[in-house]
């Protein structure tokens, strides 16, 4: 009996201890970081807490694969963190759920945050209906990775700059049997056709985001160009799942060009053999022609504050801290994630890597993806129809018509809400 009572007391003491470390006047905030970023941010927190002894940050690390679902369920279940990292393409979704706090007033009065220091296309991904729901943390876009030895041999030492050059370089690579394929564009990735369409001036959806704009020539012509790269045999119709070792295949000359993101700079450096290291480079994605700019998509992660948070002031202080150029540089050095602020791009580690300038150039001309919660499903339809057209089971005309049809179906609810709002106002 007495032993049981002691056990109960011990448990009570322990539970008190974990709930409140006993520091009076300390405000506790919860931060959710995703994947590797969540790990790294935990190492940066002690510095923040030293500067703000009145704030105690608890970092929860969430794996990327489960992050989207976890954040959604946390909001629905009233268990959202105070501040979190969020893929900036998810922001429209969480804005539709009314989950996030508008940061406009905070940024306006902040002494260290300066909207003009950020890439405009990236900043725009955080703005939905005039409200600012996130501050960019690190950025991501797609550029062209290529084998510089092979591209130099076919006459494009700096990579192809236009669609015509892209196709001509591919033709020569195959004609001169330099690679098995010229380009790798996995058929389960919607990014390559979308980036090409953006370069061609497509908005993908109508401006109010209630219908698809896939039959419009801006998209349809880009899509036809993309499909043609498969039909001419320049690109293999394989999905990501069929590529067991991308880096080995790139080194062995299976393909010479690949449209992908900044994380692959680190991967290529780590995984390509040493004699390959001076034989690869990056360039902005090919522009439609010499007169138009090369356009790519705005990706990356933002820092958001949840509307339900009771510690918004402290949460904002953490965002200010993580957005300081010095912290951005430190974060880049550990993770390889590209800084969101231009002033952080002078960091020696960024300047030293010759594959980053292409990203820097590209980031000045990125555009947000359509800011509707249904975008991901529409994007799935794009690669689904792209795969079918690449394999020849449907025509380009039928594919874009089907895309408009599917997008219109997916956006039905949005049209209903938009029309209801118009009726009310």
């Amino acid at each position: 009996m007495t032993r049981l009572r002691w056990l109960a007391i011990a448990l009570l003491v322990l539970s008190c201890g974990t709930r409140d470390r006993g520091r009076a006047g300390v405000e506790r905030i919860e931060f959710w970081g995703l994947g590797r970023e969540g790990e790294v941010v935990a190492e940066m927190i002690p510095d923040f807490e030293k500067r703000h002894p009145e704030i105690d940050v608890v970092v929860q690390q969430i794996p990327w694969t489960a992050a989207h679902e976890k954040l959604l369920t946390a909001h629905v279940g009233n268990a959202s963190p105070d501040v979190a990292q969020m893929g900036n393409t998810w922001i429209p979704e969480f804005a539709a759920m009314n989950a996030l706090d508008d940061l406009n007033p905070f940024v306006a009065q902040s002494k260290t945050l300066d909207a003009r220091d950020y890439f405009p296309g990236i900043w725009a991904t955080n703005v939905v209906g005039g409200a600012l729901y996130g501050v960019p943390w690190y950025v991501d876009t797609r550029v062209l990775f290529y084998r510089s030895d092979i591209l130099a041999a076919v006459g494009y030492p700096n990579g192809p700059r236009t669609w015509a050059e892209f196709a001509e370089a591919s033709r020569r690579i195959l004609a001169e049997k330099r690679c098995r394929f010229a380009i790798l564009m996995p058929t389960n990735e919607w990014e390559p056709p979308v980036v090409l369409a953006m370069s061609n001036g497509s908005t993908l959806l109508t401006p109010d985001g209630t219908r698809g704009a896939f039959r419009q020539p801006q998209f349809a012509n880009a899509f036809a160009y993309y499909i043609d790269l498969f039909h001419r045999g320049y690109a293999p119709s394989v999905s990501n799942a069929q590529i067991a070792n991308l880096y080995q295949q790139f080194a062995q000359g299976e393909f010479a060009m690949y449209i992908t993101g900044p994380w692959n700079v680190g991967e290529f450096r780590r995984r390509l053999p040493a004699d390959m290291q001076d034989k690869w480079a990056t360039a902005p994605v090919p522009a439609r022609d010499a007169q138009t700019p090369s356009v790519s998509m705005a990706g990356g992660s933002s820092l958001v504050v949840f509307r339900a948070s009771l510690h918004k002031e402290a949460a904002r202080k953490l965002i200010e801290f993580l957005s300081e150029p010095a912290q951005q540089v430190r974060f880049f050095e550990v993770t390889g994630d590209l800084p969101a602020r231009r002033s952080a791009w002078t960091a020696p580690a960024l300047v030293a890597e010759p594959r980053f300038p292409a990203f820097r150039t590209q980031l000045e001309s990125v555009r947000p993806l359509p800011q509707v919660p249904e975008w991901e499903q529409i994007a799935t339809a794009i690669y689904d129809r792209g795969e079918a057209a690449a394999r020849g089971t449907t025509s380009v005309a039928a594919a874009v018509a089907e895309l408009d049809h599917r997008a219109d179906l997916l956006l039905e609810k949005r049209r209903w809400i938009v029309s209801r709002k118009r009726g009310r106002s």
Partner: protein, 290 residues
């Protein structure tokens, strides 16, 4: 009489309460959900919900991806199910045979895949199936046989997944068959032998009829498991190539947790529930006929 009834109710109460709270209520709520267009917008503003009747079901039945997933799931179940049963029965017979040596060892070896982690095994098989560097095609190469792109070829991808699923699952049903075989009295075989029955006739007229209840159990368990296939294609192909490996559960998961279309996902769940119910019923009826 009355008090007996009360006592019965009292004893049943815990089970009934649990069933109501954890089974009947969620099923009813799930069905109600499937009649609405509950989605992201509804979470943002509860007014953003419409009662849509059977629209979700209608949309589901009208969508090509649903039928693709239905056909894929059926293909997987109708090929993979009987194959699992056949392989596990064969393995059980071998292990149970009098002439067999090292029975415990083989039982463990055949059962080992069951306790491996499905996701890890799926990743390993992805490597085995790789068209150029995979173990399987290397072996086919040395034998001078053609080397297909197992997971990339729309005609082969599901078959490749079936092979993995059979390998992973047959050990479990094998153990049940072994238990069933061991319950058949030795005297019956002896009597059959005295009547002049050979090995095949003993199997056909003694083993098979007496295994009937085991068959029913195995058949239902395998069918339910097979119709809910998800992890293998999710890890190995993500539903590709050309949607040839999208299954019904994968469709439900994507609609529900990726796109948060809860009403639509609930409708998928109910259709799957009906399919599994029908499959179980068919097997029960077949058993009755015998």
């Amino acid at each position: 009489m009355k008090s007996e009834r009360r006592a019965a109710l009292l004893f049943l109460a815990p089970a009934l309460v649990l069933l109501t709270v954890f089974f009947f209520a969620p099923v009813v709520a799930g069905f109600a959900l499937s009649l609405t267009d509950f989605d992201l917008y509804t979470i943002g503003d509860p007014h953003n919900i419409r009662l849509v009747g059977f629209d979700n079901y209608r949309e589901l039945i009208g969508s090509s991806i649903f039928w693709t997933s239905f056909v894929n799931t059926m293909y997987f179940a109708l090929v993979g199910g009987p194959l699992t049963v056949a392989v596990s029965l064969a393995a059980a017979l071998l292990i149970n045979a009098k002439a067999a040596r090292f029975k415990a060892l083989f039982r463990t070896v055949y059962f080992a895949p069951v306790v491996t982690t499905l996701v890890a095994v799926s990743i390993v098989f992805k490597y085995i199936y790789h068209p150029r560097f995979g173990m399987l095609n290397r072996a086919l190469d040395t034998l001078g046989l053609p080397q297909p792109d197992w997971l990339g070829n729309p005609k082969l991808a599901m078959l490749a997944i079936i092979i993995l699923a059979v390998w992973k699952g047959f050990g479990y049903t094998m153990i049940i068959f072994v238990a069933g075989l061991q319950q058949i009295p030795e005297e019956l075989y002896e009597a059959a032998r005295l009547d002049g029955a050979g090995a095949w006739k003993q199997f056909r007229h003694v083993t098979l009829p007496l295994l009937a209840p085991t068959f029913l159990f195995v058949g239902i368990v395998v069918a339910i498991g097979q119709l809910q296939i998800f992890a293998e294609p999710y890890v190995m192909t993500r539903g590709g190539p050309l949607n040839k490996t999208v299954t019904m559960v994968m469709l439900m998961y994507e609609q529900g947790f990726k796109f948060w279309k809860m009403g639509y996902a609930a409708a998928v769940a109910f259709v799957l529930f009906l399919v599994i119910g029908a499959a179980t019923l068919v097997q029960l009826k077949m058993q009755e006929k015998r």
